[in-house]
Every structure is written in structure tokens, then in C-alpha cells.
Symmetry: C2
Subunit: 123 residues, 2 copies
């Protein structure tokens, strides 16, 4: 776990990500967490009933399927999935992403399943 | 103002910043705002009593004076100033930064002065 008052080098930490779809916490602000994740392949459809969720692509590119359209994100692009909106992230190739959401949010929302990652795991 | 459900291209929006020390909102998540700002020169000493504040450098480099030390941030580096902690950001040359903090936070905290920027101004 990083010291709470340390400088966080996001691109350095990106290199240390391992399994896809396993967000790792790198910083906290109030009751929010900044998490880095590696996306590759297709995730599961899910939603977060209590919160919006921010995706910011740091390396590579990804998409987010919504029920009515597909969002595409490249490096430096940010998208806010509104609370309650079903979404399914995907990445054709390795993509590294910064996620921002309240502490305690589980990656699969209420959907569960084998891609549900351990929560509050620091990098 | 950007549509709430639009993709936000941070590097494109960076180009549209004008005056230094005048944060512009580019996205919202729950009751938090993502703001882009241009830093150049020295800001004022201030603190935010009710919230932590996140600085993420997107282009250039900057520093944050604290009362007991100086933090230095380059591109891709993030720092969380804890609530209540006095700080003074500075940049020797033009620097572009992403700020994340609750809606309603004023850039000069309780310090006021001529560098106090309009709040909730969208880019």
C-alpha cells in the first residue's frame, strides 16, 4: 500500500498490473478510490446502483457497451457511466485504465460471477 | 458545457484553457467535479477544510509547497492534498493539471484574494 501522502506515479504503477479485470487501489480522496486496471477481452454486463463510475484510459484503447450504444475511449479520454446504467467494458488488446469510484464498489456491481475481483486491494 | 454522457478528451480540452489558476469543469461524477487548469507562477497559500484535493499533472511539471516540505509532480503523477492541510501550488513554466474535488470547492479555499476564480465554470 502506498503511503497516503506519497506522490503516485500512474505510468510506473501501470507496469505492475497483472491479471485483467482486477482493479488495484493506488490513492484515496475522502471516501473515493483511484484504481488502476488492465482490461483485455470482454467483461460482464453489470451496473452500480449507488454511484457513477469514471473510466480514464491511460494506455491503449477500450470500449464500453451500453444497452443503446457503444462508447469508444482512447488515451486521455474519460467517460462517466451514470449510476444504475448497465454497461460492459471491453478491450480488443491490452488497455490500462484509471477508475474512480467510492470505496467499496465491487467491479461486477450486482452481477457477481467469476470475474468479481477482490476489493480494496492496493498496488 | 459538455453533455453529461459525452466522452471527454482531456488533451483536446487542455488546449482550450486560457488564464492561469482558473479551473474549468469538464466532467462530474456524483457530487464531484473534474476540472482542468493551467498553472503558471505561484498561487496563494490556502486550505480546504472539508475535503481532500487531487492534483494529476497531464502536461508539464509543477510543485506543491506544504508547510514542512515541497512536493514535485511530473506528467502522470498524482498527489492528494489532505483536507485542512495548507498548500501553495506553483509551476515554473506552463503546466496543465486535472483537479478532482467535490462540487462547490473554491480554488483559494478560505484565503480569498484576487486569484479566486469563478466556480462551476465549464470548459
Amino acid at each position: 500500500m502506498a503511503a497516503p501522502d506519497a506522490v503516485v506515479d500512474l505510468y510506473d504503477k501501470l507496469e505492475r498490473l497483472d491479471a485483467a479485470w482486477s482493479p488495484r487501489v493506488v490513492a484515496e480522496m475522502n471516501d473515493y478510490q483511484f484504481k488502476l486496471a488492465r482490461f483485455e477481452g470482454r467483461f460482464v454486463w453489470h451496473r452500480h446502483e449507488a454511484t457513477d463510475e469514471v473510466f480514464l484510459v491511460l494506455r491503449g484503447s477500450m470500449g464500453i457497451e451500453l444497452r443503446d450504444r457503444t462508447i469508444r475511449l482512447g488515451e486521455g479520454e474519460l467517460f462517466v457511466v451514470p449510476r444504475g446504467v448497465e454497461h460492459r467494458p471491453f478491450a480488443d488488446e491490452d488497455c490500462r485504465v484509471l477508475l474512480i469510484e467510492p470505496r467499496g464498489v465491487v467491479n461486477t456491481g450486482g452481477a457477481g460471477g467469476e470475474l468479481t475481483a477482490g476489493n480494496d486491494v492496493w498496488l
